[in-house]
Structures are given as structure tokens and as C-alpha cells.
Symmetry: C2
């Protein structure tokens, strides 16, 4: 047991720097890695990360806190972030708070007790105060996807308003004027931003948006199905709908499927995220996609910069663009396109 790093150096013939790199989780040459691992096994060497943490006051762990691991958008970001962090020698402690602010609060307290060096968080939006406890302890926080009012932390967002505008523009180009929106709870940053973008784009086009043309669901599959049902009941004249997150897109497709509504003849749809799902749907769904890998990379980058002593720099917000990926779920409203009348005149009673 009592083997030290020097014993490993003697056994392998390698320098202490190389062995130290390996033990810190950084990359070393394949042949050196094999030698070191053989020596570790032979000498029963155990790095005591615990003792190391006590000495450095760093645990080399990053807490990742998300609302739903079963959300594809979250899973893609975490998968990428965890991969980069591990290569840099950081362990990621994952906490899935199931969109429950109470669980989220507990998880933040838990990560504080576990002395995570830093935090990546896609917040429910209600725990800004306890997140400040992290910052007070000089442990960096990067907020993903959503902003928290009053929290001065680095932040990685997508341009949600532009995402909604892209969809409205696409529907308008196909002649649609009665366009609905299914979005999330208005206390969630992205849901509110997508709604603002939608309403601004509709206003720019001189199109009216009544209250019942916007349904705020709960960002779940079941909520998406309910929202689609409600929208059709209350606004039967709608010919096109933007569904502004992935889970609600799945729900809307379930409702459309079960009600026998034909896409795009009876309803044009633009969904959100998950290209594979879009391709598996018939007809293939047109979607707005978010750059999950870039979000993860930017977030890790911000976090590691802070951890490497850049703590005094003012906080930064990185805004990444979304993409529109064409499918076959937007149909042409021939009449409106052909006549070229102003959209206002086409409104029917």
C-alpha cells in the first residue's frame, strides 16, 4: 500500500511530471499510460484524491444541475460537457432536479457541501439566491440556456427571439397568416423569449396575435399534447403552429396523430430540436435546432477560465445562433401566396 509517486517513477523510469499529469487526469502518451497503470497495479499504489483535495482546497469536481435528464437538449449538453471536463481531470457530479425548485435547492446545497469547484446549471429560475452562495464562496457558476435575474454569473444562451422569428418568416413565406405558438411557462427564460420573438415577428408582418393563439404549456410531452388540443379548439382557423421546445413538439405530434389531422394539408408545423426525431416523423418535420455541443463547449470554457484564476473578469453572456432545418411539414397556402394581398386583408371572419 504505502507506495508513493516516487516508487512509480522508479518502476516506470518516467519523470515525476509525466506521472503527475497522469494522476491529474490529463492526457499522457499511450505507452507511458500503459507503463504507469502497470506500475500502479503492481505496487498497489492509490492516489488519495481525498488527501489531495484537503491540501489544495480543490476537489476537481464540477456540479452539473439540470431540470430534466430525460430532456434530449439537456442530455446532449451534459454528454459533451462531461467528456471535455473528464479530459481535463474534472469529475462531474450530476444532479437532475426534475423541474422541481425544491429539489433544485437541495441539490445546490448538496453540491456546496460536496465542495464542487464550480457549477454548470440550467436553472428552474427560482433559486437565484442560493446560487449566490456558490459565488460568495468564489466558486464559479455558469448558467446554461436561461438567465436568472439578479445573478451575476457567466451565461450561455441561444438567440431565442431570432429562433421564433425564423419560424414565423418561414410560415409567412408559405402564405400562412393564422399562426399559433405553443411555448413553455412564462417564468422560464427561454419560453418567454421565444414568445417575445414570435410576437415581434408577427407584429412586423402586420399579423394579429390574439391571446388564445399563444398557448403556454409546461415544456413536457403531455403538456405539448394538451396545448395542441387547446389551440385547435380555441383557434380552429389556425393553419400553422410553432412548437417551441422538443418535449412539447413530441406531445403536439402525438395529439395531431391521435386526432388524425393531416400535416401539412390541414396544419403546418415547425418543431424544436432533435433532428433524428424530425426525420423519423412522416412527413418529415421542419425544426429549429440549437447547437448543443457549442453550448457545452462555451460553458466549459467559461468555467475553466474562471477556475484558472480569471475570477476578477466581468461576467460574460455568450449568445449562440439557432438553425432552421427544412422538412416537409410546412405546406404552401396557395391563395395567399398567389394573390399577394396584404396579410391583413386576408383575415377571414
Amino acid at each position: 500500500m504505502g507506495a508513493t509517486i516516487k516508487d512509480i517513477a522508479r518502476e516506470t523510469g518516467l519523470g515525476l511530471a509525466t506521472i503527475s499529469s497522469y494522476l491529474n487526469g490529463r492526457n499522457v502518451r499511450e505507452k507511458n499510460r500503459i507503463k504507469i497503470e502497470a506500475a500502479i497495479e503492481k505496487l498497489h499504489f492509490e492516489v488519495n484524491e481525498t488527501a489531495r483535495g484537503l491540501k489544495t482546497n480543490r476537489t476537481r469536481t464540477i456540479g452539473i444541475l439540470i431540470p430534466e435528464l430525460n430532456n434530449v437538449f439537456c442530455a446532449e449538453i451534459i454528454s459533451e460537457a462531461e467528456d471535455i471536463l473528464r479530459q481535463k481531470g474534472y469529475a462531474t457530479i450530476l444532479c437532475d432536479c426534475r423541474t422541481d425548485p425544491a429539489r433544485e435547492r437541495e441539490a445546490i446545497a448538496f453540491l456546496l457541501r460536496r465542495r464542487a469547484d464550480g457549477l454548470m446549471v440550467m436553472p428552474t429560475g427560482e433559486n437565484g439566491e442560493i446560487l449566490k452562495a456558490f459565488l460568495r464562496r468564489k466558486r464559479p457558476v455558469v448558467v446554461l440556456d436561461r438567465k436568472i435575474r439578479g445573478l451575476d454569473a457567466d451565461c450561455v444562451l441561444v438567440d431565442n427571439e431570432d429562433a421564433a422569428k425564423k419560424a414565423v418568416d418561414r410560415f409567412r413565406a408559405a402564405g400562412h397568416t393564422k399562426i399559433g405558438l405553443i411555448t413553455g411557462p412564462q417564468d422560464i427564460y427561454t419560453a418567454a423569449a421565444r414568445r417575445r420573438g414570435f410576437q415581434a415577428a408577427m407584429a412586423d408582418a402586420g399579423l394579429e396575435v390574439s391571446d388564445s393563439m399563444v398557448v403556454c404549456g409546461d415544456y413536457t410531452i403531455q403538456g405539448g399534447a394538451r396545448a395542441m388540443h387547446k389551440l385547435r379548439e380555441e383557434e380552429p382557423e389556425i393553419t400553422a403552429v410553432l412548437v417551441a421546445n422538443y418535449e412539447m413538439t413530441v406531445g403536439a405530434m402525438i395529439e395531431i396523430n391521435e386526432s388524425g389531422l393531416r400535416i401539412p394539408q390541414e396544419m403546418s408545423v415547425i418543431g424544436f430540436d432533435n433532428l433524428e426525431f424530425a426525420k423519423a416523423i412522416a412527413p418529415r418535420l421542419s425544426i429549429i435546432t440549437q447547437p448543443t455541443r457549442e453550448i457545452a463547449r462555451e460553458a466549459v470554457d467559461l468555467l475553466l477560465k474562471r477556475l484558472s484564476g480569471d475570477a476578477g473578469r466581468p461576467t460574460q453572456t455568450v449568445v449562440l445562433p439557432t438553425d432552421y432545418v427544412e422538412g416537409k411539414s410546412v405546406g404552401v397556402r396557395a391563395e395567399e401566396v398567389r394573390t399577394g394581398l396584404s396579410n391583413r386583408k386576408l383575415r377571414r371572419g
Copy 2:
């Protein structure tokens, strides 16, 4: 800074046991939690988990090692496991090895260095030896979903052979005799077991399975699309297909979609996992589902039992049943059902 647990007790008027419960991550009454957290803030108390770990030689962390976080089956299991473990005061360190045995080996070494108390692993299948290093250090390992030859660890599986049999039986009841299988790489336990189950059920029914009626893909979406394409090219007479994991089901649906093949008129399909995806597909997909929450609960249960001193007990394998969920993607082959001829006689040249 120097505040101790006794200072917290004095400040809150609570017993040391309650405060200790809170600090160990166990549940305490809401009003006590609020008192304790207020006192912690006021007195700038910090639990030093690092020092605690040094004393107990326990880090209260569990490593979770999976092939793909973007795999819904993995994500659902982790979400549930993480939730239970956190309630018990354990942090889960997540490692996503992207189905790469080299990354998996690195991740296991990483978790050893981080002194994880135990490991839940859905293995690629190639790193049994390094997993033994965990067991040698008396740290329990629970293997999820797959077995590793020669590794004496607790294990939670589903009955994969029966899952395939359920699908074959359903197709047969609808009169199908030319049934294809799309499964995964044969070095992955589940893929091989599903193939065995398929072939046994076909043999029991007196139905022939030629080599080209079984396509072994790679458990990815792209692989599922390629496998579906190959199956149709090489076995154009097939009228029904079982796709034996979720990602390949999505891929098969993309290929079917893009080739314009009609379900169930031209092809009957039974997929795997993800009820919501199945419902969003038109016509609704029939699927085999796996009990992800139960898998997680059983695995955590086995792990915690070992950690609470039950280390000497012989290892256990828990096998859970799958379900068949009817959709509209299995069509009736009227002729075969009506005539009631033996399946062999119906084979056409």
C-alpha cells in the same frame, strides 16, 4: 469560518443527530432544514467533506458509467438512480464513454482515482479486467443491462430473450411468417440475447430464419437506417421486422419514411423502448418497453446493500420482465390467418 457542528446546534437549538442527518444529505423536517441552513449561512459554517472522506475512507460518491447519455434508455435509468442516491447522501459522478472501450477504461481508472465508493456500469463489454480492480479494492460494482463474462458482480438485466419472443408471437398471431430482425453488435450482451430469443421463437413456430433475415447493426440511429435498407434489399419478401433497440428503431423509421414504405400495409414493425416516440409516429408504433425505473431501483438497492456491510453475500442477478405495448404498426396478413395453413406451407418462392 471556524464554526463547528456544535455551534450550529447551539444556534438552532437542535440536536447533533438532526444536524448530522442534514449534513449527511439525509432528509430532515422542513422547519429544521430552514433553521440549519440559516445557521450555516450566518456562522459561515462549511462542512469539509474532503476531511470527512479522509477520516471515513468513504467519499460517498458512486460512479455511473454508461455507453451513451444520448440513449434514452440510459438517461431514464440514470435520472432515477441519481435521484435515489442523492436522497441517501451520495453524489453520482457520471461518465459517458460514447461506446468507446478506450474511453471506458479511462473512465474506470478515473473513478478509481476519485475513490468512488461503488460503481454502476452499463459496460461496453471489453473492460471486465479493469472492473475487477474495483472489486479487488472492496468497492462494489453493479452491472446494468449487460453481463460481463468472468466478472463476479451484482447484475440487473431484463429478460431479453422473452422480449424478442413477445414480438415474434405478436407477428405470428397476425399471420406473418417472413419476419426480420434488426439487432445490435453480437458482442453486446443484450443484442446477442435478443437474437437468441428471436431465433428460438421462430424455430418453435417452425419458421425459417436465413442469415440475411437478421441484420446486426451498431445500436445507433444511422446504423438502424442502414440495417433497414440492407434488410429490404436482401430480403424483399419480409413483411414484418423487429428492431431491437430504441436508437435503431428511430433509424429504421427514418429509412422507412424516406423510402416511402407504408406501415403496416407494406411492412409491419415492432420497435423498442420510448413510448412517447411510439405515440408520435403515424401510425402509432407497437413496441417492447423496458422497465427503466425498476432497473435503476434494483441496481441502487443492490449497491447500497453491499455498501452497508453486506459485502460477503454471493452476487445476485436480477432479471426484470419487459412489456409489449400495442400500437397500429402490425398489420394482419389475412390470407395466412384465414387459411390456417401451417406456416411452412405458406412459404413462397
